[in-house]
C-alpha cells in the first residue's frame, strides 16, 4: 500500500513543504553563490526595509484596492446572473446563455488580455467603431488611472459565468413545493425570487464571501503581470509582481522572499480566521 502513497507524498514534501523551509531566505542576506547555509543571517532586517520601501507600500495598496473592487463588483455579479438565469422560463435559452458565459473561464489570461487588447486597445475594434461614429475614445488598455477598474471588469467578464455554478447548485436544492405554496399565496415571480430563492442562497453566499475576504491579499497574478508594462508599476504593481521583479529579475532575494512570506502568513491566518468565523455564524466551514 505504501507503494501507492509514498511517491505522491514525496511530491508534496518536495514541492510544498521544502519551499516552505526555503522561506528562511527572508531572514538572510541571501546570495545564490553562498547558498542557504553560507548566506549571512540578518534577522528581521528584510522586513524592516520592506515596510520602508515605497514600491512595496504601493504594491500593498494596489493589492488591497484591486481586491476590494473585486469584492464589491466581481463577487455579487454571479449571484445576479444566477438569479436572472433562474428566472428564465425557456430552458433552452438558459442553457445557451450558460454555455456562452462559462467559456472564458477556461481561456488563459494571456488570451483574455490579448482579446481585450484587440477589441479595446488603441487600434482595436471598439476604438475604430467609435471613431467612425465621431467619438474619440482613450485607449482603455493603457490608461493607468482606470487600470484597476479595467482589471475588475476583466475578472467579471472571465469568471462571472463560472461563478454562477455554485449558486445554481444551491437554487436547485430548493424544494419545488416552496414555490408552489408561494404561488398559491399569490406571490408573483419577483416575490418568489425574493422570498424563496434568495434565502436559499444566503448561506453559500456568506461562506464564499468570508473566504473571499480571507484571500484579500491574493489578486490575479498572471492577469496583472501581463499588463504591467502597458500601464506602469505605479498602477499595476501588487505584492506578487513586486516579489517577481525584485527577486527573480532584480536579485534582491531576501527582500522579495520577505514580501512573499508576509503575504503567505497573513493570507493563511486570514483563511483560518475566516473559516472559524463562518463556522461561528452557523454556516458550514470549509475544513
Amino acid at each position: 500500500m505504501y507503494a501507492f502513497i509514498i511517491p505522491g507524498f514525496v511530491f508534496f514534501v518536495v514541492f510544498a513543504y521544502l519551499p516552505l523551509v526555503g522561506n528562511v531566505v527572508a531572514f538572510q542576506n541571501y546570495s545564490p553563490f553562498l547558498g542557504f547555509r553560507g548566506s549571512p543571517w540578518v534577522g528581521f532586517a528584510n522586513f524592516t526595509s520592506l515596510f520602508s520601501d515605497p514600491d512595496f507600500l504601493t504594491a500593498l495598496r494596489n493589492t488591497l484596492v484591486i481586491s476590494l473592487l473585486q469584492i464589491v463588483f466581481a463577487f455579487p455579479a454571479p449571484i445576479a446572473l444566477a438569479l436572472l438565469l433562474n428566472s428564465l422560463i425557456s430552458e433552452r435559452l438558459k442553457r445557451l446563455v450558460q454555455s456562452i458565459v462559462y467559456l472564458p473561464h477556461f481561456i488563459s489570461w494571456v488570451i483574455v488580455v490579448s482579446i481585450w487588447q484587440e477589441v479595446l486597445g488603441g487600434a482595436g475594434g471598439l476604438a475604430t467603431l467609435l471613431s467612425k461614429l465621431g467619438i474619440h475614445s482613450v485607449n482603455i488598455m493603457s490608461n493607468p488611472d482606470t487600470f484597476k477598474i479595467l482589471v475588475t471588469s476583466q475578472v467579471v467578464w472571465k469568471e462571472t459565468g463560472w461563478g454562477t455554478i455554485i449558486f445554481f447548485a444551491a437554487i436547485s436544492a430548493v424544494a419545488a413545493e416552496l414555490y408552489e405554496s408561494a404561488a398559491c399565496d399569490g406571490a408573483g415571480s419577483f416575490r418568489q425570487m425574493w422570498h424563496v430563492t434568495l434565502p436559499a442562497i444566503i448561506p453559500v453566499t456568506m461562506l464564499l464571501l468570508i473566504l473571499r475576504l480571507g484571500a484579500v491579499f491574493s489578486v490575479g497574478f498572471e492577469q496583472l503581470i501581463l499588463q504591467q508594462n502597458a500601464v506602469g508599476p505605479h498602477a499595476a504593481q501588487v505584492i506578487d509582481t513586486f516579489a517577481y521583479y525584485r527577486g527573480v529579475l532584480g536579485g534582491d532575494w531576501g527582500l522579495s522572499a520577505a514580501a512573499g512570506l508576509f503575504k503567505g502568513v497573513i493570507g493563511t491566518l486570514l483563511v483560518i480566521g475566516a473559516n472559524r468565523l463562518a463556522k461561528r455564524s452557523g454556516a458550514e466551514g470549509l475544513f
Binding site: N23, G125, K132
Partner: protein, 300 residues
C-alpha cells in the same frame, strides 16, 4: 386572488408565471447585452485572423475578403509552430503523469483505517491547501533541483493538485468495500485491485481531473515565464505574451518575396490557435467540470 388566476400558467412548472412585460423586456435587453459582450470580442478576434493584407475590419466582424495567409505564415515551422508542439507535448505528458500520480495517491490514502501513517500523510497533504510558499522559495527550489530551462519545470512543481486528489479520493471512498475484499480473498494484489476494479469504476472522475489538468497545463503561462529562458522551449502562452501583448515583432514575418499579412492578423491567428484546443474540448469541459466542481464542493 383574481390576479393569480389572470396570469397565464405555463406548462411544466405550475407555479411559474410570466412576469409583466416591462420586466420581460428588461430581461431580454440584459440577455442580449450579455450575448454581445461575451461574443463580440471572440468573433472579432477570429475574423481579424482571416484578414488579408489590404483589408481592415473597422470594428465590424465580417472582413471584406478572406485570407489564410496569417495561418500559413505561423504554421510554416517557425517559433509558433514549435511552441504549439511544446504545449501539446507538455499537456499530454503532464496530464498523463498527473492523473497517474493523483489516482495512485488518492487510492493509497483511502486506506487511512488500516495503513499506519496514512492518516497523518492525508492531513499533511490537505494542509498544503492552506498555504503557498511564494514565488521566491519555489524558484530557488526549481533552480537547485537543476530543472531551470527544462520542460520538467513546467510539469513537476504542479504534478498533483491536493484539491483534485480530494475529489478522486471522495469518489474512491464511495466504491463499496466488499468489491475490494472479494478480490483480495481471491488473491488479487493491491495493484491488480487498483487497475482492474478501482480504475474502471472511476472513469467519470478520472475524465474530470484529466480535463482539469489538461486545461491547466495548456493555459499555464507563469511557470514557463519563470523557469524557461530559452525561447526555443517556450510554450504557446509565453509566445503569445511576447508577440501579442509585449509587441515584439515575429522574425518569421520578414519574408522578402511576398507581401506579409498584417501583423494584427498574424497575432490574432496565434490567439485563435492557442484557444482552439480549449474550444474543441469545451462541450466535455462544460459537462464534466460542472460535475467536478460540485463533487469537490462536498467536504472530504
Amino acid at each position: 386572488m383574481a390576479t393569480v388566476a389572470a396570469r397565464r400558467r405555463l406548462p411544466g412548472a405550475s407555479w411559474r408565471t410570466r412576469a409583466p412585460w416591462p420586466v420581460r423586456l428588461l430581461k431580454g435587453a440584459v440577455i442580449a447585452a450579455i450575448f454581445a459582450v461575451m461574443l463580440y470580442p471572440l468573433l472579432y478576434v477570429i475574423m481579424s485572423s482571416f484578414m488579408p493584407a489590404d483589408a481592415t475590419l473597422e470594428g465590424s466582424v465580417i472582413p471584406s475578403s478572406w485570407s489564410l495567409e496569417a495561418y500559413r505564415v505561423i504554421l510554416d515551422g517557425g517559433l509558433v509552430t514549435r511552441a504549439l508542439v511544446v504545449s501539446i507535448g507538455i499537456t499530454v505528458v503532464g496530464t498523463a503523469l498527473s492523473v497517474l500520480a493523483t489516482t495512485t495517491l488518492a487510492y493509497g490514502l483511502t486506506r487511512t483505517r488500516d495503513v499506519p501513517g496514512a492518516k497523518t500523510m492525508l492531513y499533511l497533504v490537505l494542509f498544503t491547501m492552506l498555504f503557498g510558499a511564494g514565488i521566491i522559495p519555489n524558484y530557488l527550489l526549481v533552480k537547485s533541483l537543476g530543472l531551470l530551462n527544462s520542460y520538467w519545470s513546467l510539469i513537476l512543481p504542479g504534478l498533483i493538485s491536493a484539491f483534485n486528489m480530494v475529489v478522486v479520493r471522495n469518489f474512491f471512498m464511495q466504491i463499496p468495500r466488499d468489491l475490494f475484499e472479494a478480490a483480495r480473498i481471491d488473491g488479487a494484489s493491491e495493484l491488480r485491485v487498483f487497475v482492474r476494479i478501482v480504475l474502471p469504476l472511476s472513469k467519470a472522475v478520472i475524465a474530470v481531473i484529466a480535463l482539469f489538468y489538461a486545461v491547466g497545463y495548456w493555459n499555464s503561462f507563469f511557470s514557463a515565464m519563470l523557469y524557461i529562458n530559452d525561447a526555443s522551449k517556450w510554450p504557446i502562452q509565453l509566445v503569445l505574451n511576447q508577440y501579442v501583448l509585449q509587441g515584439t515583432p515575429l522574425a518569421q514575418l520578414q519574408n522578402p518575396n511576398a507581401t506579409p499579412p498584417p501583423a494584427q492578423a498574424v497575432q490574432m491567428a496565434v490567439v485563435v490557435l492557442a484557444t482552439a484546443p480549449i474550444l474543441v474540448i469545451y462541450p466535455f469541459l462544460q459537462r464534466y467540470f460542472t460535475k467536478g466542481v460540485l463533487t469537490g464542493a462536498i467536504k472530504g
